[in-house]
Every structure is written in structure tokens, then in C-alpha cells.
């Protein structure tokens, strides 16, 4: 889990208030995301994909 100090500093620099009791849960969630992110290493070709939400053709007009 990311250290409580790291998380508190990150929130402070973003101007976000954070409750003392929330830090352990935020740390747990943060750690889960970071752990699951490691699965991407098994799929190096994913780096070449265009992110899903970048191209919204519905907003393009040709006439």
C-alpha cells in the first residue's frame, strides 16, 4: 500500500481535503489499481492501441 504520507501529500498538492479515516481505504484502492496495472506488461502491443474514447466520430461533421 502507498504510504499514508505519500497519499496525504498528493491530496494536499491537488488542493483536496482528505479525511484521516479514509486514507486506509484510499490506499487499498490505489494499491489495487497499481497491482492490476501490472497485467498490462503481458500485453506490450496494447501500447500501440488508440485509446477507446479519443476518437468520437459522432462529433465530426463533414459538410
Amino acid at each position: 500500500m502507498k504510504s499514508k504520507k505519500f497519499l496525504k501529500q498528493a491530496f494536499k498538492s491537488n488542493g483536496m481535503p482528505v479525511k484521516k479515516g479514509d486514507v486506509k481505504y484510499i490506499g487499498m484502492l490505489f494499491t489495487n489499481v497499481a497491482k492490476e496495472q501490472m497485467t498490462l506488461k503481458e500485453f506490450p502491443e496494447v501500447k500501440n492501441e488508440v485509446p477507446m474514447t479519443i476518437v468520437d466520430k459522432g462529433e465530426l461533421w463533414y459538410d
Binding site: 491537488n14 483536496m16 479514509d22 481505504y25 489499481v33 498490462l40 500485453f43 488508440v50
Partner: protein, 462 residues
């Protein structure tokens, strides 16, 4: 004789059409049942006695006068409390919207009412749709009608519990990372997450824009088809809305499964609770007996789904709630506030990597559907849990325990249908989900309808 409260809309509709059942009588009966059961179950945040009776009287008058609109006419419907309802408080299960009275209905609500549906009440839910449990710090936990000590699943907890308790024949839900399918599985009912954009999300409070799917939850596949007939359709004012032609979803309910090719991704066989594993093995055998061809397949990209689901949900939810998180953080429950706070720390790189993984996963699913008609797996890998006093931790743990199986369909936008699979050793329901190609709702409902004939809650038990 079956209590009116447990009759499906597909059974009620002909009775109403033939004037053998009065919509007022039906609505009064359900409101009475709600008055008795809701103080314990907590399925409704706002039962709508006056509104429902007024609409029921109006429907009855129209039918008596020969203006029968179709199979939803005079049928009471529970509306999840994140669908905006004109002049009726819409809380999203949160203190943030505690006093919010929308000026107009969500598009789906308008469509259901135009078809003659009766708004029975606003349903309880996990706060802002951010959970899989049914815990709610403002309106209280919803209890599972099968055993009040157990969770009903969420976030559409009230919808699923009301159906299971015979308090409503039809309900709406929303599914961002499993919120229609998880409570359907835990409460023993049918939950459909349609193709992304098939049902307008205009007027539904967002959880995470790119993953949000409004949809029906009911007690049968036929009733899902019935609701979808009215809820689906292009909305030019809703950016994600699909320009897809809408069909009659009730037409394909042939209960036929002969020759249907079903693939089970091996991902869905890992980490199953023993009860779920046993029920799923039994279900596989039963599906074979129904004539389905079943094989295991590999979709390695599913390994990235949990990361993509968590990163996208937390980021998008944090973006939507950012201002109120700064100014009203005390008004959020601790579970949701922690999710939103973690979302503010998700980096842009993580968010975009998640969207890259999402494209790769979508492509992998397309490839799988070249080989099979449907994919199948348990809806969630765990058995329905008991209600814990440590509700914050339980909600967060339950997200991690369920999302890996449900979020792939949200990430890829494919339709997914959770059907009851059987009863676990505690006597609580478990579910399995069929997933299909984009816009294959008819096929999913056909499979669901065929499966339903096996009466899984009666005959598939651990």
C-alpha cells in the same frame, strides 16, 4: 394460486387487456405488500402511493374506454432512484441529491410511462451506483428477500429485492460495472445490461459516463424483452446513443437452444467459490442437454479488465463529482468518498492505458464471437455474502470480488444477461451470465428463455 405480486408482467398484461384484472386493484395490492415488507427489506427509498394510484386509475379508464396501449399498460414499475423523475425526488441514493427534484423525466421513464406503465416507487441503491453490495449509508441497507441477514447485491439493490419479494413485476436498473447483473444474481432474478447506447442514458445520473448502461431487471426473460421493447431506441440528444434499429425483442423467445455455440472463457473458471463452481458445472450439463454446444476458450486480454474497469470508473466518477467532493465531502458515504478520492489520484496515463486495454479487449471479444454465438460464465465468482457491520470495507471488498467478472461487458459494450443459476448451500441464489455480440439482445433473451424452462432455482441446488 400464485399471489398477484409474483405474477410476471407477461402474465399480467393479458389479464389487464381482457379486463379480468384492474390496474387499480393490482397497484393497491402491490402497495399493500410494500407497506408490509419495505420496513424490513428497504427496497424502496420512495414508494409512490398517490402517484401510482393516480396513474393506475388513468390506465384503467383508458382501457375501459377501449384505448389499450399494449402490454405495459397498467403494469406497475419500480424506478431506480438515479433515473430522474419529474416533480419526484431523485436521490441517486446520496445525500448530495437528497433534495433534488428534477424538472423532467429521464428519457426511459418517459417511454415507460407513455406505454402506460405505472410508477410504483423509487428504488434503493448503492450511493451513486458505486458498489456491488446494497449498503447505503443514507437510506439503509437493502436486505435480501431470500434471507434478511444477507446482501441483495448492488448497486440496483432495491430493484432486485423488490422483484424477489413480489413487490413489483418490473424494475429499471443501471449497470456501470455489474449493477444490474450482480443484484440479479444474488437475489435470484433476471438482469440485462444491453449494448452500450441501445437505451438512452439522458436523465440518468451518471456514475461513469463511458461505462453506464441503463437496463431492465425483472423476474423473467420475457419481461426483460417486454421492457427493452419500450426502453431501447436512438436518442439524438444523448451522445452515446446508438443509431441502431430496434426490433421486437419478444419475438425470439422460442426457448430453443439447439445448436447454439457457447464459449466459456477459462478466465471465468478461475477463483470460483466451491458452491459457485458446483452450480456452474451442473448448469453446463443442463445446457448441453438443452442442445447447446459448449467449449472452453481462451481470451487472455480479460486479464486487463480489472485494471481498466477500476481506473476508468474511479476517474470518471471523480471527474463528475469533483466540485462536490471539494465542497461537500462530508455528505458522501465513506466508501464512495474513498473511491472518488482515489479517482482524483488516478493519472492521465493510467486512464489512457485503461482505454487502450479496453480497445484490445473489445477486439479480442470480436474474435471470440467468430467462433461462438455466446459467451458464458458465472455472473460473479463468490457466493452471496452475509451483511457485515463493517459496511465500508464490505462494499469495497465486494467490488473487488465481483467486478472482474462483470466489467468486461461494460468495457466492451457487449450485452450481458444474468439469469438465476441455482441455490447455494446457504439457500441463497447464484447467477450466471450470457454475453453476446453487440446488439445480440434477441439471442441472449432466447438463451435466457430456454434456460428458464429448467427452473434452476428449484432444481439446481448445492
Amino acid at each position: 394460486m400464485t399471489d398477484l405480486g409474483f405474477l410476471s408482467a407477461s402474465h399480467l398484461a393479458p389479464l389487464i387487456q381482457k379486463k379480468q384484472l384492474s390496474p387499480v386493484e393490482l397497484t393497491k395490492h402491490l402497495l399493500k405488500r410494500i407497506d408490509v415488507a419495505n420496513p424490513t427489506l428497504n427496497a424502496f427509498i420512495t414508494p409512490l402511493h398517490e402517484v401510482a394510484l393516480k396513474q393506475a386509475k388513468q390506465a384503467e379508464q383508458q382501457i375501459v374506454n377501449g384505448h389499450y396501449k399494449g402490454p405495459l399498460h397498467g403494469i406497475p414499475i419500480g424506478i431506480k432512484d438515479n433515473y430522474e423523475t419529474e416533480g419526484i425526488r431523485t436521490t441517486g441514493g446520496s445525500k448530495i441529491f437528497f433534495h433534488y427534484v428534477p424538472p423532467k423525466n429521464a428519457v426511459s421513464v418517459d417511454k415507460l410511462l407513455a406505454a402506460g406503465g405505472i410508477m410504483l416507487g423509487k428504488m434503493n441503491m448503492n450511493e451513486l451506483g458505486a458498489g456491488s453490495s446494497g449498503h447505503n449509508p443514507v437510506f439503509g441497507v437493502t436486505r435480501n428477500p431470500w434471507n434478511h441477514d444477507y446482501l441483495p447485491g448492488g448497486s440496483s439493490s432495491g430493484s432486485a429485492a423488490a422483484l424477489a419479494a413480489g413487490l413489483a413485476p418490473l424494475t429499471t436498473g443501471t449497470d456501470t460495472f455489474g449493477s444490474n447483473r450482480i443484484p440479479a444474481a444474488m437475489s435470484g432474478v433476471y438482469g440485462l445490461k444491453p449494448t452500450y447506447g441501445l437505451i438512452s442514458s439522458r436523465g440518468v445520473l451518471p456514475s461513469a459516463w463511458s461505462l453506464d448502461h441503463p437496463g431492465p431487471i425483472t423476474r423473467s426473460s420475457a419481461d426483460l424483452a417486454l421492457m427493452l421493447n419500450y426502453m431501447a431506441g436512438f436518442d439524438p440528444h444523448d451522445p452515446p446513443s446508438l443509431r441502431a434499429s430496434v426490433t421486437d425483442y419478444t419475438a425470439a423467445l422460442t426457448q430453443e437452444m439447439n445448436g447454439m455455440k457457447i464459449g466459456i472463457p477459462t478466465y471465468y473458471l478461475e477463483g470460483l467459490d466451491p458452491d459457485i463452481e458446483k452450480l456452474f458445472q451442473n448448469a453446463r450439463s443442463t445446457l448441453k442437454k438443452l442442445g447447446a454446444e459448449i467449449k472452453e476458450i481462451e481470451i487472455p486480454e480479460l486479464a486487463m479488465a480489472t485494471f481498466a474497469g477500476l481506473a476508468i470508473t474511479a476517474s470518471e466518477a471523480a471527474a463528475y463529482n469533483f466540485e462536490t467532493l471539494l465542497t461537500q465531502s462530508d455528505d458522501y458515504g465513506q466508501d464512495v468518498r474513498s473511491i472518488l478520492s482515489s479517482g482524483t489520484l488516478t493519472s492521465a496515463v493510467q486512464y489512457l492505458e485503461a482505454q487502450q486495454a479496453r480497445r484490445a479487449l473489445t477486439r479480442a471479444f470480436h474474435k471470440a464471437f467468430e467462433e461462438v454465438d455466446l459467451l458464458l460464465g458465472p455472473t460473479i465468482p463468490i457466493a452471496t455474502p452475509k451483511i457485515s457491520r463493517k459496511w465500508v470495507k464490505q462494499n469495497l471488498d465486494l467490488i473487488m470480488g465481483t467486478l472482474p467478472f462483470t466489467v468486461p461487458a461494460n468495457l466492451t459494450g457487449i450485452p450481458a444477461l444474468s439469469v438465476p443459476m441455482g441455490l447455494d448451500s446457504n439457500g441463497l441464489p447464484a447467477g450466471m451470465q450470457f454475453m453476446g455480440r453487440h446488439l445480440s439482445e434477441q439471442l441472449l433473451l432466447q438463451a435466457g428463455s430456454a434456460w428458464e424452462t429448467t427452473q434452476p432455482l428449484r432444481y439446481n441446488r448445492v
